[in-house]
Symmetry: D2
Amino acid sequence: MGIRTGQAGAQLIDVPQPTEISDDQVLLKTLYTGICGTDRGIISGQLKFARPPAGSDFLIMGHEGLAEVQDVGKSVKTIRRGDIVVPMVRRPGGCLQCRIGRQDNCEDGDFVEAGIRGKDGFMREYFLDEEKYSVKVYDRSLGRLAVLTEPMKNVVKSFDAYRTVTRRSIAQCGDGSFDCRRATIAGGGPIGILFAMIFRSYGFDVQLFDRNDHLGKLSAVSEKLGIDFKVSEGTGLPPNFIEGLDVFVDTTGSPSVIGRGLEGLGHNGCMVLFGTSSGGGYQLTGDLITSLVEKNATIIGTVDGSKAHYIEALNYLSSWKGMFPGVLEDIITQEDDPENSISALNTKVTGEIKRVIKWADQ
Amino acid sequence: MGIRTGQAGAQLIDVPQPTEISDDQVLLKTLYTGICGTDRGIISGQLKFARPPAGSDFLIMGHEGLAEVQDVGKSVKTIRRGDIVVPMVRRPGGCLQCRIGRQDNCEDGDFVEAGIRGKDGFMREYFLDEEKYSVKVYDRSLGRLAVLTEPMKNVVKSFDAYRTVTRRSIAQCGDGSFDCRRATIAGGGPIGILFAMIFRSYGFDVQLFDRNDHLGKLSAVSEKLGIDFKVSEGTGLPPNFIEGLDVFVDTTGSPSVIGRGLEGLGHNGCMVLFGTSSGGGYQLTGDLITSLVEKNATIIGTVDGSKAHYIEALNYLSSWKGMFPGVLEDIITQEDDPENSISALNTKVTGEIKRVIKWADQ
Amino acid sequence: MGIRTGQAGAQLIDVPQPTEISDDQVLLKTLYTGICGTDRGIISGQLKFARPPAGSDFLIMGHEGLAEVQDVGKSVKTIRRGDIVVPMVRRPGGCLQCRIGRQDNCEDGDFVEAGIRGKDGFMREYFLDEEKYSVKVYDRSLGRLAVLTEPMKNVVKSFDAYRTVTRRSIAQCGDGSFDCRRATIAGGGPIGILFAMIFRSYGFDVQLFDRNDHLGKLSAVSEKLGIDFKVSEGTGLPPNFIEGLDVFVDTTGSPSVIGRGLEGLGHNGCMVLFGTSSGGGYQLTGDLITSLVEKNATIIGTVDGSKAHYIEALNYLSSWKGMFPGVLEDIITQEDDPENSISALNTKVTGEIKRVIKWADQ
Amino acid sequence: MGIRTGQAGAQLIDVPQPTEISDDQVLLKTLYTGICGTDRGIISGQLKFARPPAGSDFLIMGHEGLAEVQDVGKSVKTIRRGDIVVPMVRRPGGCLQCRIGRQDNCEDGDFVEAGIRGKDGFMREYFLDEEKYSVKVYDRSLGRLAVLTEPMKNVVKSFDAYRTVTRRSIAQCGDGSFDCRRATIAGGGPIGILFAMIFRSYGFDVQLFDRNDHLGKLSAVSEKLGIDFKVSEGTGLPPNFIEGLDVFVDTTGSPSVIGRGLEGLGHNGCMVLFGTSSGGGYQLTGDLITSLVEKNATIIGTVDGSKAHYIEALNYLSSWKGMFPGVLEDIITQEDDPENSISALNTKVTGEIKRVIKWADQ
């Protein structure tokens, strides 16, 4: 059983269990897959870059996965039967960045992504993968929370990039901590909450806003994190959330949100662009350009993450279980069987933050 | 009640509870203090840099602390009564590094350290401190494990320095992870185990050795961590532990261990010097120098840590509770009342890894 | 004699030669000052941040200077009578960045700038300055070319920031050089040419465009540099200059130029914002945001430079005298006496790249 | 004509001019080659790693070259007939570092080096090379000084590594420059002088010492550079040259010099190991280890350089012609014809700094 997309919509299909395994492969039994905006964009046909594997006329969906190792090939060394792993999404091409395992920075676009472009994904009961793209989960107590590793690895890479670019000046405060620094996060989806958590865990004063509160869930999560939450109204952003900022993270892709955020950057401030969209617009003025120059501002677009970021993502998830009790659990708002997930794949419901599909018991 | 040292040995003394509190201060009730080699070196008079506060003829001991906030001054904003905090050891002087909160990198030696040089420490029931030197513990589930924050912040700073200096070349493997990199840790004290844990948590192949197994405890911990442990015999180091190394971390301070480790560094390898000692010796030869040059080797001495490193230390401890179940608990091998701790301060017992003093219930 | 500005325009005034000198001061005889867009913006009243020193009702102009040391105070050690120096523009306030000599990254705006805001400038025959703000010129053969140090230090800082932020991925090519990387520079003023030179000197394939050729001067300079030059027509940018770029440097401040440049950034590309303006506009769309995200793009605003950047600026100028014969000389297109410079300060003439005022023979 | 080495000593041999040229090759006419300690070590049979190309029983010497392009293959784009180039020494293997053009950091030793190991060198009238290993000299006014590019690229890489590793703390002074920082260079050979120049050009207070003054030449050069020079006597190093150092650069490979330098490192100090040797020894003590730890010291071994470092090396040489008049000229103390160079290759004469062989007129 698996979930495919072809011309339109998602369909449940029969997917046979693999019977042969190469020496460097692992046979994986899917436990959970997550659903995100990219999945819905593919299914609705809005993402032009989505494509089936070469020679196939459909694509098996799913890029956020969690799986149990059923069997391993002869030359597999670091992974054993019974291990829990997170499969990586993007697989390298031949460019300079890909050659060193940094396909997340691929410089010629010659890569494939499981469940997105050119490679079947993880929404099926069993699949084969290579050892080197299977990231082992050491903390078994994470349970289904480990399905958040894939979205989290994006956040880890973004934070890594943030740390690298802010070496332009002294990023920390006068006491050597980040306690005096302010970070505003636009958008309270799973990625936005994970961004709020990472900046909070380093001591930043964090602010989060969204167009709605997801049935009070964002307020509740924010209270647990010790951060401020506000609902933005119309095209207006919460005023004091966008002044003198050290960091502004956009997860919405909205040009007007980003434009307003850029206006709010303080000296040596950094804008992290993660969200994407196709609509909207914002007038970039000479005054805003001047402000970015005078303030030594930095803006970074960031996508995907490397294997090291997956590994660190798991470390963070383990850490936050204790540090922010209940918050990771709050992020997963729905769990479905594969059979019941087709409609979920088509439409996001009110109050949904992260919806997951359960394929098997752990 | 508190523990002081003067000319020789440690003594239990009466320490009155502070009655007045300044606007920027917090009143702290000590919960736990850890005992380390530095404490014993001070008490035995072997550490020449140890000194009482100016104007005092004794020093209250203790630099590894965990405390509960009893009261806060009027201008204190980030900390409340009932919070748990870790007090920082080193306090800044006026040099360039200190001015930005990096007294751990102090360039003129003009600093004080609580319980070590020029400032009374945390081995007393109550003490006053400044808000900015009190690092809040968010993860209450850590319990007494949070007393490991102070030693851990050293490890975090070392790892930070390791990451910085290894930007000289590509530190990761061809798959973007550290899975192919080997790290050997010399010395299985608390610091050595914490080093093993941090490198392990990033995916390194880790090896640990010590002169003895501490009653089998190091073997047990290593098994839980999935790393190799060996007992070194005489002056000999475990042979395959010191070949083609990407990282060698010394926590022993022994010149012969370090010298042998330097010989084992591979290309672009990094030696982390953390341990200190006053004895021993190793003949640095032209052949070894040549090897370090040809291999683009890096050696870093590293001491103390900044406030950001304390904060990250707490993040790691939270993470490792789940990732390496029981290991942090295994590190704390003894717990005493203050009254029973005087002899513990004088002598390390067989099988001891980290001994702590309990001052009050949490 | 000196040049001041008050409410409107520039005036020649008497400025008495300083008669007393403090222990840490140097008495400087001005040799050359450069004129730039900022000077003209101040004189025409368009730059709102321009202001006289506290307590004065006018400002002595000039922030690009070159001077000869006439006398030194008793405690001055590194500078002697007869030395040639470049005086620094920006002087630190009390913030974290300023405290370590990085007032170019000042985080609270509490600084002064000679000839611009709150401090008299260098357009006068003699002035006193502190030793630490006087950057010594070692290469006497530079002659008046050393007056380009001040604009060049901006370029050095920008390049330094570029190198820092592009550590996000591998910036070099597969052969370890920058030979395969493309950089486009928008605007052929002195700063634009200096940017072209720095990227060219590191092996980049460089492209320069401007709205006009400055009487053929930009074509001539570009030929000497081995770079491509094109005149942009109307609002159109030269098409192949803005595709698949590794670097786009804007010195115009024009939102439409910048917007088009952002569209042309390739994977891991970097936009350097240096120019400022108050007019124009560009519609930032969701598609452009998405492209910046998918490409891991970086945008940096950058202003001013630190003392180390002044020192490196002089190194580069020395280097380029031999490497690009005649080009630095070509940048200085006019030289006036102070008496004849008032009209020059008001209006830029056709074919002008950098105009300088000569105050005394070297 | 060319110079080979086989079992013992150097011999002049006939080397035929290449007659065919592949598409990606350039035909080079040698202008100058430099002689260094490595050449003499190979000829005397002391360097065990030296070896002829596979299948040959002798090695053509020469790794410091300067050549004129005689002809180019059909696909060569960036280099033309008549250009002057510096050929690179080390050619990549297949490891991770080599794959991105950083064979200078090769992690498996699988590389060849022209004139040293596994590849014929540049001491012959004509040779073929690939375009990508030929670094173009833009500054024709350098003349024969450009033969210093190869040794200089080592210095550039070392300085690059120094800048990278010293990001551990603030490397600059309180005024943002390096003016307060002290660097001591051990050994006044060509490499030592070039190290003195690079640190001097960034404003460091530089000290140079050697066992002798090379007939007064080091004193003369030091005076021109504005640095201190002293002759070390017996095993003693100049006392005030090794105290509170920010940088100590060793070009001698002598363990006792290095050991004494390590003792002299100040807080956050950096030891750069470049020189190699096979003799001598120094007792590494616990006290020295403790000092390195307490001071957050860094020690880096560094060898070779990447193509970008060759390019920067040429920039520095151009810069220093004007900044330090006559010094680069002073480094080249002897010039011979190939016929007269055989004895020069065997023995270093008194007063020699860098000896070069002239193969053809430029």
